[in-house]
Symmetry: C3
């Protein structure tokens, strides 16, 4: 059985929750929160597939992704306080999400026959662009531009996946190693407040 | 004779006016106002068609939509004060616009064979995303996230259309009822300052 | 030998530099600067091609554009101070960039068989939308809406190109004249602080 499909569903579900909860401290009604959760969940993958011309988009062609999104939004509506108390849990889920989406995005791009450089960028876009679109719509500084290492962890994991793939590592091991790398970089960066140097 | 085509042209025309006037109180020159009118008019339908992979986009394939947009922008340039004094008129036009675009978006999506859940979302996107893009470009909080019921009225009308269609209601009656529902919800919400509960 | 290809590469390179340097005075790390340079360089052309359904996107189908972008970002990383001291140089590069991209965008659209009105809009979008997306992501007022003439110079050059093409002027002369027109309008507007009237 293929591990990719359930991983992508779980990632979508998690992103919907984090998107819906992201607007909680602002003047958003329930609908605005659900809308933001929806955009966060579909944004990265949709942008990737639109750039690649890969139709139909995943969530349009497969209704299970819609169900995953609706379930995530519903959960955020019913248990907002509990979920926010679980802030560390949410952070972990988001970190798992960007790990999975990075590697799935690389694989999707490669399956369409693009060059590895493009596949690496598409992996990163899949993972972070939903959050970027969410932050842009809600007039926040996109998470990408905030202090801790975020998108760069995804890009590093994407490149690692491509290198290991080039050297013939079996796909399952490669996924495990590359996803773990994204997650580890992100966790270590947040734990030790690591950031990349600034341009000055 | 098909009623859909003239309705879509009128909706495009109205959105161009409201977009061009939206930037009036800020530091925009005439060109910026026209540009904003253009983006507002094409944004929702273009996003819908890009997500669905439905090419050519309506305004690229049919020059009458360009004429409708240019006419709207020109009118906003010539009579800005008169139109703004008619603020209530403009509000009504915008409300008519989201009503029409919701149902037209649902129909367009269904004609491409997508599931009804997707068609409902596409109807809502058609109606509101032009305004969301306009507000994002001009650094406003998108109208979607402001207090009164807006996008949720569109989603309700889209779902109603799909339900009535499922039960076999004739298309003309269905359009009339569903468009009226969107318009009524929006008018009543603004009149009585109704809003959805917040997430807290 | 065709002049269009090297011009487009140089324009992409220049836009990557100006995008990477645009975030320097804010809290961006190196990665954020590179990401912004990337988005600025691909934004306008990608939007044009997505609206037109012209796949594959230029930078996805031809790796030389990626190299041009990476070279521009690298240069911005290594010599940020020198480049910013050359502010006038950067301004000139950006002005050259919008001149070239306007005419290249018009030609690309016409080669896809769209109407001249659409081609003019696509020429302008190619030139300015990368910067608009950059400014939206970084929460700036898009350059389009600031005081001096910018996008309107591109639209004027695009229309001139189409008019001269209609009257049969040879392509090389037409490119030269139209690109020079965009550049001249922009330079004169900035030099003499010319702006279009506001809507009030």
């Amino acid at each position: 059985m293929d591990i990719q499909y359930p991983l992508e569903l779980v990632g979508t579900f998690v992103f919907a929750i984090s998107g819906a909860l992201a607007v909680r401290d602002r003047e958003h009604d329930l609908f605005g929160a659900g809308f933001t959760g929806f955009i966060t969940a579909i944004g990265g993958g949709s942008l990737r597939d639109i750039l690649l011309g890969a139709y139909p988009l995943v969530w349009i062609g497969d209704v299970n992704f819609l169900y995953a999104i609706f379930a995530g939004i519903l959960l955020a509506f019913i248990f907002p306080s509990a979920l926010l108390k679980l802030r560390k849990t949410m952070f972990l889920f988001d970190t798992l999400g960007i790990g999975f989406f990075t590697v799935l995005g690389v694989e999707k791009a490669m399956s369409l026959g693009v060059r590895p450089e493009i596949a690496a960028i598409m992996g990163m876009f899949s993972a972070v662009m939903g959050g970027v679109i969410r932050d842009t719509l809600t007039n926040e500084i996109p998470i990408l531009f905030r202090k801790e290492i975020y998108a760069s962890a995804c890009l590093a994991g994407a490149i690692l996946y491509l290198v290991l793939n080039y050297f013939g590592l079996a796909r399952d091991y490669n996924m495990l190693i590359s996803i773990s790398t994204v997650i580890s970089i992100r966790l270590i960066a947040v734990r030790y407040k690591l950031s990349l140097p600034r341009l000055d």
